[in-house]
Amino acid sequence: MIPDAILRVEHLTMRFGGLVAVHDLSFAARRGEITALIGPNGAGKTTVFNCITGFYKPTEGRIALNRGGPSLWNELDALTASSVRSRKGPGGSLYLLERMSDYLVTMDARVARTFQNIRLFRGMTVLENLLVAQHNKLMIASGFTLFGILGLPVYARAESAAIERAAAWLEKIGLIDRADDPAGDLPYGAQRRLEIARAMCTDPVLLCLDEPAAGLNPRESTELNELLLSIRDETDTSVLLIEHDMSVVMQISDHVVVLDYGVKISDGSREDVRNDPKVIAAYLGVEEDEVEAVASEVGL
C-alpha cells in the first residue's frame, strides 16, 4: 500500500457482455507524480479511464481518490461499507469514484480528463473553451445566473478573473495569439495542448490524459513532455497518463503500470518496467520465453 497515493484502483473489473475489457486490476497513483498506464491496442486503458472518470460504471471493484492527508486512507473501508460516496477528513475528502456520476467526478472529486479522440468545442473560440471549463466557479459567481442577468459587478469581476486565468494557460501552451480563433481551426498538436489546458482549468487534483502524444511530431512531443513536467512540478495536480508510445513514457513518468488484455502484467519504476520480459513480450506479441530470441532478432 502506498500511503501518499492520490488514487487507488482496487480489483477493478469491467465487462461488456461477454468481453472482459479489464480484469481484477489494482494499482495506485502517487500524489505529485506522473503515473503512466501503458499497454498494447485494446488492452483496456481507455476503459480504465472511463471507469475512473465516471463514464462507465465498473462491474466490480472500487476506485478511491483522496484529497486529504494520508491518514484518510484508513477510513476507506468504513466509507465503502457506508452507502455515501465521500467522507470528509482533515484537508479534504475521500471519494469513491465508482459511486459518482461523470460530472461529479470532475466537480467534487476534481478529476479532469482528456480524450483519445480530441473533444474540443470546435465552434467555440479557444478562450471560450477555457471559460466553459471554469463553469462551476463562474456559475456561483453569477449567483446561478441571477446576478449575471442583473449585470452586477460581482460577476463581471469573476469573469475577468476567469479570462485572466485562461490567458495564463494560453501563454503557457503558446496559444495566446489564437485565443479568439475557433478551436476547430487549430492544428492538431495545438488542439491536444488546448484540451490539456482546458482540463487544467477545472482545477483538478488528478489529470487523466488519454494518449496526449498521439499524432504529434517529435518537436510537439518534446513540448508536451515539458508541459506535463511543469504541471507536475508547478501545480498541485498529479497526472495519470495513458500512452501507447514507450519512448514518451520512459522520458517523463515516475511510475508505470502495464496492462495487457485487461490484466496488469507489470507495475513499478520505468527501469523495472523497461526490463520486464513480460512487458516486452506483450509489446512484441510473443510468448515470454521467446522474448530473448525475438529481441535479439529485431535488435533490441
Binding site: T46, N50, F55, Y56, F115
Partner: protein, 305 residues
C-alpha cells in the same frame, strides 16, 4: 370476450395498414438515418391516387368486378406513388445528403406541408367519400345477440398485406438489392467502394417504401371509405410510432410495431375512451422512446467515449 375478439380483428386490420407505412419509415431511417417526415403525406397522396383511379375505372370504364378494379388500382397507385416519392427524394433530400443534420428534416417537414396543401388546393378541402364496397361479413362467433364479424374488406386487407410482406421480405433478404441496402446501412462509403450504387439504392428504398405506403393508402380508402388532404399526419405519426416501437431500422419490427399500435388503439377505444385513443398512441411512443429507445427488435446504441 366477444368485444375482445372483435377488437382483435379490427386491430389487426388497422395494424396492417400502420405496418405497411412503418416499413417506409424504418427503411429510410435505416439507410440514411433520417425521419422522412413527408412519408405520412405520401401515404395520403396515394389514397387520392387510388381514389381517382377507382373512379376512372368504375365511372368511366365501367369495370364492375371489384377485385379486378382493386387490383388495377393497387398497381396504378403503387406506380404513381413511387414516382412521387422518387421525385421527392431526388429534389428535396438528395441535395442535402451529408450536409447539416437538421436540413433534411426541415426539408421533409416542408415537403409534408407542401404535399398536404397541394392536395388541398388541387382536390379541394372537403372529405372525399366513396361508396362502400365489399360490405359482406362473415360471422365468426355469436353470443347473446352480439356478433363478432370479419368483413370481406378486412379479409382482403389481411391477404394483400400478407402477400406483399412476403414479396417484400423476399426482395430485401434474397436479392442483390437487399444486399446493397444492407451494405449502405452499414457504411455508405465502403459500399460505394465495393461497387454498390449508393444513390440508386437509396432511391429504390424510397420507391419501395412509397409502394408499400400506396398499398396502405388504397386499403385505408377501402376500409374507411373516406379520405381528406389532412389524413396523412396522424396515421403517419402512428406508423412512425410503430417503427420506433418495433425498433427503428428493423423491418420485422415495423410490422410487429404496426400490429401493436393497431391493437392498442382499437382496444383502448373499446375499453377506455375513444376520445383519447390518439393520446394513447402518442403516449406509447413517448414511453417506448424513454424506456426502450432501441425498440423491440432494434439494437441498442452504445455511447463510445
Amino acid at each position: 370476450m366477444e368485444v375482445f375478439v372483435q377488437q382483435l380483428i379490427n386491430g389487426i386490420t388497422l395494424g396492417s395498414i400502420y405496418g405497411l407505412i412503418a416499413i417506409g419509415y424504418t427503411m429510410v431511417f435505416g439507410i440514411i438515418g433520417m425521419v422522412n417526415f413527408a412519408h405520412g403525406d405520401v401515404f395520403m397522396v396515394s389514397s387520392f391516387i387510388a381514389l381517382v383511379a377507382a373512379l376512372v375505372l368504375t365511372t368511366w370504364l365501367g369495370i364492375s368486378s371489384v377485385f379486378l378494379s382493386l387490383f388495377i388500382v393497387l398497381i396504378v397507385g403503387m406506380l404513381l406513388t413511387s414516382l412521387v416519392s422518387w421525385t421527392i427524394e431526388r429534389l428535396a433530400y438528395r441535395p442535402l445528403r451529408g450536409s447539416f443534420r437538421l436540413a433534411p428534416l426541415i426539408s421533409a417537414i416542408g415537403m409534408s406541408i407542401f404535399l398536404m396543401n397541394f392536395v388541398q388546393v388541387a382536390q379541394g378541402p372537403r372529405n372525399k367519400a366513396v361508396p362502400p364496397m365489399l360490405q359482406q361479413v362473415i360471422v365468426v362467433m355469436e353470443r347473446d345477440g352480439y356478433e363478432v364479424t370479419v368483413s370481406y374488406r378486412q379479409l382482403v386487407i389481411w391477404a394483400v398485406t400478407a402477400f406483399l410482406l412476403l414479396a417484400f421480405w423476399y426482395v430485401v433478404s434474397k436479392t442483390s438489392l437487399g444486399r446493397a441496402q444492407r451494405a449502405c446501412e452499414q457504411d455508405q462509403k465502403m459500399a460505394s467502394l465495393t461497387g454498390v450504387d449508393v444513390d440508386q439504392t437509396i432511391s429504390i428504398t424510397f420507391v419501395i417504401g412509397a409502394a408499400l405506403a400506396a398499398v396502405a393508402g388504397t386499403m385505408y380508402l377501402m376500409y374507411y371509405g373516406v379520405v381528406s388532404f389532412s389524413d396523412g399526419f396522424v396515421p403517419g405519426i402512428k406508423a412512425f410510432t410503430a417503427a420506433v416501437l418495433g425498433g427503428i431500422g428493423s423491418i420485422p419490427g415495423a410490422v410487429i410495431g404496426g400490429l401493436l399500435i393497431g391493437l392498442i388503439e382499437t382496444m383502448w377505444s373499446a375499453y377506455f375512451s375513444i376520445d383519447y385513443k390518439d393520446v394513447a398512441a402518442f403516449s406509447v411512443l413517448v414511453i417506448t422512446l424513454i424506456f426502450l429507445p432501441q425498440g423491440i427488435l432494434g439494437r441498442p446504441e452504445v455511447e463510445k467515449v
